[in-house]
Subunit: 476 residues, 2 copies
């Protein structure tokens, strides 16, 4: 990174918006996977015109530019693997408008997802997407990765709420896509193309989001089942009976055991519980009552025990406690966790768990799994002792077998986290040569010099050895 | 069109799948706008491999290729303005799979939308998008134009149901995008890019659609209001009270009058009725009861009269009768109808109607309007006597003023019908030069030779004089 470039950035942005401090460059070079590569310079724009000016400078000097939200991603998407300029959006965190009557909000990319949810709830509205990092992650990052969350069964994922975008192209040109309405068929849907493009096509600087009515009532149910299969049958049964819960969270017995161990609370994993289901219904009070009755009956009909219903915030918190504790709790099993956010057609969730059981046996590793039963989106966590080279090798082999098995079930290797660095080595198992080639041409048409978040998505960018590419969290 | 090309098509497809009959070429060269241009040859593929072979031949010979569903579109999208090969998908009309447990269907593009709805309803499932031509139009056409319909307020539009596609590129390469799950973040979302691309990027040969639970109960309410403003206030009030109806259809007084005149039934336009609202609530019976009560109370609180609730199929049909009769009924007003499917932010529907009132006065023309109040998507019909040159000129001037006014309200020039030929002259009023340039580069990356549905979307393709570009239906 030549001094001249830093000089030009300072000239355009002012010294307070540019940092070459090695600690800052290191800190803004990592994400939730703990993969990391230091930025050469971190900039803190607070307006679209500044982002455009940065792009022009980077374009002229062919410098990589990587947009960054809160760095909570699980695919290495925000890691500047080729160095260059990291654009930190923490100063572009304004909620520009909440239109209560027309049901949309306009926000800057640095707005924290949970803050937006609180702000719109204050006027009786609801922004449903709820990635589990919602207290830290930002809307900009959610848009880049098309973040999901538990509420997707009823409400869909981030892309279903993005109506329009302002974005800066690598040339510095500013485009506006979509608008403020759900219906809009004017030209190609660049909005939907940019959502989930992981910052490789353009840098989003403003987002218009659809809002919906805040459901006035919420009921949460929890049930334990002897096996995953029983829980899956309960889900199928309640869906057949026309219940449409917001959330259908499934947790397997191995995960429950880990949570009970980590928290010292055996009630979270009662004897004989091979699976737990948390179901949340929301809507008008009468609707929620009717739906909760269907859910409870369906669970009992499939052998559920310990069916509990929560109607107050405190009671609901108690039911969600086990689910929320999972991520840290799993580290009691082993120090290395490889989290795969795979997805299968909804009805094949039992087949997926059968596959996981087979992998446990073949690779002699714990693989606690949990996730969103309504979407078929399950987090399959391959655990190993990081100091045991043989276990680590078996873990990575298990991941490869898992992804192949998921594709054989008609599923997908990533439902929520994105490809980034972490799954780049595997993308060509899911997508054909011709499909990937079409994506490469599309990338080329937006970013002919390849300066936007280089080194992501495509298999040629997969770090060698392949194993490094897999999402892994180590106990710190 | 050289004989050699027809010969090669016959060689690949067999003689029964190729027609150069002038009547067939004429018939397959028009759409719902009654714009028309004869195809040079019409082909009737019945498999993806055949579409791929056609593409290779067209690509080698630089022949335009235009995919066609039922030809019910309202933007000239299926009209082969540069001649060439029209691909009629009527033989690719198989419902390949309905997966009741995983909630998806796989269909060929020629499946009629209403047929799919019937088929999935037979197993308790629901495919919500409901363009008004649903008994004729096809899923392939719906995907090409991202068709909407009345149910969008609760359920969204076609794109919200498309999970995956198989598509043929102009080179003949076959790509697969997306999959069978709602969550999928593997590479760029080519699925969402192709939806609404009007057959200009690829030719869709198979579609995987998300299905939802068939709501077991439906209640329809109708209410008359003194003015549009009162009806709009009722909509805002019921939304604030957390009702989420499937449908919120608004019909203005001028339209009601035309319907009453055309049908000879004055009950469809009672004295003093400046607007009618049809609201449909669906879901579990208890939920529908609660929601219908909110809707009825909100209507009455805003001065509604004649509030009627229908619970049986026959009663509901009766309430929908006025709405269904609108399109033919408007022709009693005048012989030329220019239908604009504009959209404004939901709360600005009264402002839109104020704009329409102003246009009526300024251009001295009837402009009956109706549409989807929940989405802000209103069909504004500028009417003129086609034999009166002055009226026709005023009509086209009124359309231009309408579109500019809609954009000034933060709306969009097309909510459902697409750009095609009909709005190509106006697209650059909504999209900036840089945004359009990005779309052109994208088109180039998919179709470098420009053989896929040439002459559509971009302003340089707008037929001269501009007036021809506007959607117009003439009384036949």
């Amino acid at each position: 990174m030549p001094h001249a470039l830093v000089g030009r950035l300072v000239e355009v942005l002012g010294v307070s918006r540019v940092s070459v401090d090695p600690e800052v460059c290191r800190q803004f070079g990592q994400d939730g996977t703990r993969q990391s590569h230091a930025a050469d310079v971190v900039v803190f724009p607070d307006a679209t015109a500044q982002v455009s000016a940065i792009a022009r400078i980077c374009s002229e000097t062919r410098t990589p530019m990587v947009a960054r939200g809160a760095g909570t991603g699980y695919s290495g998407g925000a890691v500047p693997v080729r160095g260059g300029v990291v654009l930190a959006f923490e100063r572009m965190n304004r909620i520009i408008a909440i239109d209560e009557a027309s049901l949309y909000a306009i926000v800057e990319p640095g707005v924290v997802t949970g803050d937006l949810q609180d702000a719109v709830a204050g006027v009786g509205l609801f922004y449903p997407p709820d990635p589990s990092s919602l207290r830290q992650c930002t809307i900009g990052g959610n848009v880049a990765e098309n973040a999901g969350g538990p509420r997707a069964f009823k409400y869909g994922v981030t892309r279903h709420y993005v109506l329009g975008l302002e974005a800066v192209l690598p040339s510095g040109e500013v485009i506006r896509t979509g608008g403020k309405t759900v219906k809009n068929v004017v030209g190609y849907d660049l909005t939907q193309l940019l959502v989930g493009s992981e910052g490789t096509l353009a840098i989003v600087t403003e987002i218009t989001l659809r809002l919906v009515s805040l459901p006035p009532a919420v009921v949460t149910l929890r049930a334990f089942f002897p096996t995953i299969h029983h829980a899956a049958e309960a889900v199928s049964r309640l869906v057949r009976q026309h219940a449409v819960p917001a959330t259908l969270e499934l947790v397997d017995g191995a995960t429950l055991d880990a949570v009970a161990k980590a928290t010292g609370d055996r009630t979270l994993a009662p004897a004989g519980a091979g699976a737990m289901l948390i179901v949340e219904c929301d809507g008008l009070p009468q609707a929620v009552d009717a739906e909760a009755a269907i859910v409870a009956a369906a669970c009992r009909a499939e052998g559920a025990t310990g069916v509990v219903e929560a109607r107050t915030e405190a009671e609901r918190d108690e039911l969600w406690r086990a689910r929320r504790t999972i991520s840290p709790a799993l580290m009691v099993i082993a120090g290395l966790k490889i989290n795969n956010d795979i997805v299968v057609p909804r009805a094949l969730v039992p087949d997926l768990f059968a596959l996981v059981d087979d992998l446990k046996r073949r690779f002699r590793l714990p693989i606690p799994s949990f996730g969103h039963a309504g979407d078929g989106n399950i987090h399959v966590n391959v655990m190993a002792n990081p100091d045991d080279a043989d276990q680590v090798a078996r873990a990575y082999a298990a991941v490869e077998a898992l992804l192949d098995g998921v594709l054989a079930l008609g599923g997908s290797i990533s439902g929520e986290h994105g490809i980034g660095l972490s799954k780049a080595a595997f993308i060509d198992r899911e997508l054909s040569v011709d499909t990937l080639a079409a994506m490469r041409r599309l990338k080329q048409s937006f970013d002919p010099m390849g300066i936007l978040n280089p080194g992501k998505i495509f298999p040629e960018f997969a770090p060698a050895p392949v194993e490094r590419a897999v999402i892994a969290e180590r106990r710190s």
